[in-house]
């Protein structure tokens, strides 16, 4: 294998890593805010699926990429509203709610999808192209890896410091972190706990919907019901593995994305291993990551506990 060829492959894998990271990062960084507010939203997978599906419907029916992305975010918001209603207002178990929502999303998208394509070939679309950042994109290697990406990828990367700033430098961030640790401490100060938790859940779900929309429009040309393939769950693992810190989440997401990027390059690399092994890597990695975790100091003390006044 020539040296030039090797270099090309490495750059290509890294560029793919950044691209593949995007939907995971949207979901994980959004749900990080939700979890810091004490709500363990297990419906990430379903929310992502909804986002992807709605984006597909809008882009194929109305032929607008911007509209499709907005619709995906809206779908996320609706899912978030349901999660918030069930966990915050009805105080249902967070796990049960999330599981229920995933199953609901699976059923609904399947039905709508079948209804949508009934009696005709499945419509396809043209997704996002790359936006090269002038100047920066011509830096050798780095330009291709970091600065020749889809527009939303830049936004996802930008979201990491923004969310960090929000959580640690704004009054709302302090309140959100307080909710995750001890919501009563906020309640006794006369601050509306439910309203902030709704906000945090819906923000996370909008970001997850955005991630789902990008998954659809950034990689593919048609909808498949298994399009999310567990990425919502990987986002949750990334939050845990990242010890509930924005930069930790980014690091964990990068690991998953790199493994997936590797799988897409198997044939090029020419390794004599069944390709299923590579496809399975992110899932195996997430179990191993969880096994290796000894510290969970960052886990919000009240995560997943419905809050009620007593």
């Amino acid at each position: 294998m020539g040296e030039l060829f090797q270099e090309t492959i490495i750059v290509s894998i890294l560029a793919a890593t950044v691209r593949i990271m995007t939907p995971l990062l949207f979901a994980a960084i959004g749900e990080l805010v939700t979890q810091r507010a004490g709500i363990w939203n297990m419906g990430v997978e379903g929310t992502m699926l909804m986002g992807a599906f709605v984006a597909y419907i809008v882009v194929t029916a109305a032929d607008t990429l911007a509209g499709a992305i907005l619709a995906a975010m809206l779908a996320g918001a609706v899912m978030g509203l349901v999660v918030a209603f069930m966990t915050v207002t009805l105080r249902l178990d967070h796990f049960v709610t999330g599981l229920g929502l995933n199953l609901l999303a699976g059923g609904l998208t399947l039905f709508w999808f079948r209804s949508y394509i009934a009696g005709r070939p499945q419509p396809t679309f043209e997704g996002f192209g790359n936006v090269a950042i002038p100047g920066l994109s011509s830096i050798p290697y780095l330009g291709e890896i970091l600065f020749t990406q889809r527009g939303l990828t830049y936004l996802a990367i930008l979201a990491v410091p923004l969310v960090w700033y929000f959580l640690y430098r704004t009054k709302y961030g302090l309140e959100i972190r307080c909710l995750g640790e001890n919501p009563k401490a906020l309640d006794v100060k006369g601050v509306n706990v439910a309203r902030r938790q709704y906000g945090a859940v819906i923000f996370g779900s909008v970001m997850t919907g955005l991630g789902g929309g990008f998954l659809m429009l950034g990689f593919s040309d048609r909808f498949l019901s298994e399009v999310t393939a567990g990425r919502g769950w990987l986002a949750i693992v990334a939050i845990i593995a990242g010890n509930w810190m924005p930069k930790g989440v980014l690091a964990a997401v990068l690991v998953f994305a790199f493994l997936e990027a590797l799988a897409t390059h198997v044939q090029v690399i020419g390794v004599e291993v069944p390709h299923q092994v590579f496809l399975a890597l992110p899932y195996l990695a997430s179990i191993l990551l969880m096994m290796g975790l000894r510290v969970r100091a960052g886990q919000p003390a009240n995560l997943g506990v419905p809050y009620r006044r007593a």
Binding site: R169, T170, K171, Y172, G173, L174, E175, R177, C178, E181, N182, K184, A185, L186, D187, V188, K189, G190, V191, N192, A297, A301, R309
Partner: protein
């Protein structure tokens, strides 16, 4: 004196229970007004209504002569009402500063922590409160945490401060200091509602309103009444506060604890080099401010917390690997401080809770199945013997009152234990009547030859019940004392970590 707060005919119901029934009382500016009553008399509900945390079903609240509607704590805060909860409402992972400012900034989005810091410093200086604002709350001693709570209220501009059982977690000396500073505050601009069921706290107030079963029994000047009279008003009958404990010489040692150490969740030491022995016919009292290792000691003795070092022997036999199963099988009975967390399954019936921990015992089995008939029979026996007020043996334990839940635990532990009872705060949150009952039964077990380890926040009770008192501070035993040769003040100093009191106690 003008009335700062006037509560008129306030009524509050929960489900079928009337927590406050036409309650009327007033708080004058600058006074310390005590709401005195047993657990469940409605004090906490009343204060929650005044703080806007609950909405009353009837009656009205006047503040500075004007009727006010408090639909949320924010309404109360705006008027200048502040509250310090008995169980602190703090974020352990936040600094002192963050705890004080969270939820208080009205305008802007960016945190303005520097302005806040200055304002809090001024408050601290004004009242000689010594606190590191950048320390994490989990680093602070319980007494210091209380100052964080008070600062939270003052920072929000409280003029009327509700203090809920403020000295439950303090040493006698710390409570003195607390009330000294509260007095200073009252001299300037503060009024205080003091919620309490403890006589030594009440005596710090100007006036006292006694509540019983949700109703006001009367309001009087504290100086013009006596502890005995107040207690009679609170309970509604004459109460004999003295406990009759027959002299019994201790028998063979039952529990021997040698150089036991244990660590907490983050590897920090929670028990260090703890040694003591408890014999038959003996009650060892554990004194100490909450959070100084008493709970961890019980956990270690029950095998719920691994020993880092040291050994535990029962009836002369060293237990190599202590597990909860091992402890129960060897005849140890455990009355945990948080009964609905560690002692009972709230959704289980009384009958099921009575065999919880013994579900595999052949006594309650028929072949591979649980013997339902035997369980019901046992439950009916115990309901009668321990006077458990429950609709039936099938009722869920979680629907019963704290006192009846505790009776289930007593019934179960006394049935299965045969040598040692570990009782952590067994009277917490109970009525006087039930407290008397719990103490009677413990003394009866002592008479039968059990060794008993009893932790209590009520120092007086320990002095009455215990044959010896071990004082805990930061996971260490400061001293083991004979209550008959010791004063409450000496124990208080030891609880605060002043080791020289040990010398004082010995002489």
């Amino acid at each position: 004196m003008t009335d700062l707060l006037r509560v008129e005919n306030l009524t509050k119901r929960f489900a079928q229970v009337v927590a406050n029934d036409h309650v009327t009382f007033t708080v004058a500016a600058g006074e310390i007004h005590c709401l005195f009553g047993e657990n469940g008399a409605g004090k906490s509900t009343l204060s929650a209504c005044i703080y806007g945390y609950h909405q009353p079903d009837g009656g009205r609240i006047l503040y500075r002569g004007k009727e006010v509607r408090l639909t949320s704590p924010s309404d109360a805060i705006r008027l200048g009402i502040g509250m310090v909860h008995q169980h602190f409402v703090l974020v352990e992972e936040f600094t002192v500063l963050e705890n004080i400012i969270v939820g208080t900034q009205e305008s802007g989005v960016r945190l303005r922590d520097q302005e806040a810091r200055k304002k809090i410093r001024d408050l601290c200086n004004a009242y000689e409160i010594d606190l590191n604002l950048d320390a994490y709350v989990w680093e602070l001693a319980v007494g210091q945490q209380q100052w964080v709570e008070i600062l939270k209220a003052l920072y929000l501009g409280a003029e009327l401060l509700i203090l809920d059982e403020p000295t439950a977690v303090l040493t006698p000396q710390e409570s003195d200091r607390l009330f000294r500073i509260i007095r200073q505050m009252c001299a300037r601009h503060l009024s205080v509602i003091l919620i309490s069921h403890k006589l030594n706290e009440i005596l710090q107030s100007d006036r006292v309103t006694v509540l019983r079963k949700g109703q006001v029994v009367g309001t009087m000047k504290t100086a013009e009444t006596t502890p005995q009279a107040l207690t009679t008003m609170m309970v509604g009958r004459e109460v004999d506060l003295t406990i009759h404990k027959p002299e019994r010489p201790p028998g063979q040692p039952v529990l021997e604890v040698k150089n036991v150490s244990a660590v907490g969740e983050w590897g920090e030491p929670v028990l260090e080099d703890v040694s003591f022995t408890v014999a038959e016919h003996e009650i060892l009292g554990l004194a100490g401010v909450a959070g100084n290792g008493q709970k961890q000691l019980f956990e270690a003795l029950m095998g719920l917390r691994p020993l880092a070092d040291g050994e535990v022997s029962l009836k002369g036999e060293r237990i190599a690997r202590l597990t909860p199963r091992e402890a129960l099988d060897r005849g140890v009975g455990y009355i945990p401080d948080d009964r609905f967390r560690d002692g009972l399954v709230g959704d289980f019936s009384v009958a099921e809770n009575l065999v919880l921990g013994w579900q595999y015992s052949p006594d309650y089995r028929k072949g591979p199945f649980l013997d339902g008939k035997r369980m019901r029979q046992l439950a009916n026996e115990k309901i009668e013997q321990f006077q458990i007020a429950t609709p039936s043996a099938e009722s869920a334990a979680g629907t019963l009152s704290g006192g009846n839940a505790q009776r289930i635990i007593l019934a179960r532990e006394f049935l299965h234990a045969n040598c040692l009872i570990l009782a952590n705060q067994p009277t917490r949150g109970l009525d006087v009547g039930v407290i008397e009952y719990v103490y009677e039964t413990l003394l009866q077990k002592r008479d039968e030859g059990f060794a008993i380890v009893l932790a209590s926040e009520e120092l007086e009770d320990l002095f009455n019940l215990a044959d010896r008192i071990a004082v805990f501070f930061k996971g260490r035993v400061m001293a083991i004392l004979d209550p008959k040769a010791t004063t409450v003040e000496q124990v208080g100093l030891l609880m605060a970590g002043h080791g020289d009191a040990r010398e004082a106690a010995r002489t």
